[in-house]
Amino acid sequence: MERRFTVFRFIAYSLELLLLFVLQTTPSLLPEIYGGKPLLMIPAVMTIAFMEEQIPAMFFGLAGGALLDFGYSDTLGYYTIMLTIICFVISFIFRDYMVVSFLNAMGFTALITAALVSLYFIFFIALAGKGGLMYYVSHYISRIVYTIVCTVPLYFINKFLFRNLMDF
């Protein structure tokens, strides 16, 4: 009874992730911009992690990463591990050392999204000989920017859920 709203909040987060997964994996639903589509799971789990405690943040990071990985391929991997760790760390930082604000959230999300996607490109595209710098510029820059832009609504949605479904 004491944690009733927390359960509802987690259910809401889960439904949100599933909805975003459908949005992300449905062809021609989200428009492509310069060949790029947003990786909605990254800002979604990060904005959750800004507000939640470490363990829930970590599990939502794991779930979002798994959905991202399975959206790309049929196996867990890069995004699952990275988002699990990142969400855990973000939650730790923002619980003890930083204040959650829109600017902080945008800055962190932009930085981490750019790093995550760029590292993905380096490890899985460039080092695999599938594409070079031009490919990164033509496909990955737009993807990073598109993802960062999507952080704005997701931040406010998750903030709304956190504030309105909180156990006092």
């Binding site: 459908v22 449905t26 970590m58 794991l62 196996t75 867990l76 591990i81």
Partner: protein
């Protein structure tokens, strides 16, 4: 290291990561149960995604109207092509038949024609063809099909000609029974024309013609070439007026329904009687 894991959250993180890495390695090694499990779990989501995709692919009303117009036009074009195809196919089949006619009768000059009109008032089933004097047709030219003689051109203008059939009393041609050489005159009879039958009249009383004999044109008179099949004898009767014998002849062609014919514009010995008569007069 021990200090790092002293924190409960960090231990959970480590365990979670260990599980994830284990599953990732298993998946990378090609173990299908991870992806199978995930696919099973996300099957519902995939259905939703597919349904949304299907909905997203649906066209607007205006697009559907436009597409409908385009498809209707394509269908009309294809129907026209299909009709053209059938026309060409029919014409090809017809030309093959005519080729066979000229092959067996090298002296025949033929002109294929289509039946364009039937006179519903004419009880002897005359019809109009789409060829006239411009095509080289003359009065009294024989009209045949691959099944034999069916009539003659009884009137003609520049673009069309009227054909009087063998069912009409106006048709008169010398003919004989091929087997017995008994001769007579093929002419229509109002008593038999409704049944699509004609007659071989004026047969000698002593003639040996029998039921089933084939009747062909005799060629006498120069209007019809010799040996054009008219039909086969169906029955033999006696004329109630002049007591002569006549044969009821069943043409091989269904004259009531014929749609394409051949006009013989020239053949060996054509018009020899007329020319001879003209020569004597001079």
């Amino acid at each position: 290291m021990r200090d790092f894991f002293a924190d409960k959250n960090r231990r959970i993180l480590a365990i979670a990561l260990a599980v994830v890495i284990f599953v990732a390695v298993m998946g990378a090694m090609g173990n299908p149960w991870v992806s199978s499990a995930f696919n099973y779990m996300t099957k519902g989501l995939s259905s939703v995604s597919a349904a949304v995709t299907s909905a997203a692919d649906e066209k607007t009303y205006d697009e559907l109207v436009e597409e409908n117009k385009k498809l209707s036009k394509e269908a009309a074009d294809l129907r026209t092509q299909l009709v053209d195809y059938y026309d060409l196919k029919d014409e090809n089949a017809r030309l093959w038949k005519y080729y066979n006619i000229t092959k067996s009768n090298p002296d025949f000059q033929i002109l294929p024609a289509n039946v364009i009109r039937r006179d519903s008032n004419d009880e002897f089933y005359s019809f109009t063809i789409d060829a006239g004097t411009n095509s080289g047709i003359e009065l009294q030219d024989p009209v045949i099909t691959e099944n034999g003689l069916i009539g003659f051109v009884s009137s003609v203008n520049a673009a069309s000609g009227k054909v009087t059939t063998v069912l009409s009393p106006d048709f008169q041609a010398g003919a004989l029974a091929k087997k017995t050489s008994d001769n007579g005159i093929v002419t229509g009879n109002s008593s038999y024309s409704d049944q699509g039958l004609t007659t071989l009249a004026k047969i000698d009383a002593a003639a040996k013609i029998q039921k089933g004999d084939i009747v062909v044109s005799s060629g006498i008179g120069g209007i019809y070439p010799a040996n054009l099949i008219v039909g086969k004898v169906r029955e033999l009767r006696i004329d109630e007026y002049d007591a002569t014998k006549f044969a009821v002849v069943e043409p091989y062609e269904d004259i009531k329904k014929v749609t394409d014919v051949v006009v013989l514009t020239d053949f060996k010995n054509k018009g020899e009687v007329k020319q001879a008569a003209t020569g004597e007069a001079r």
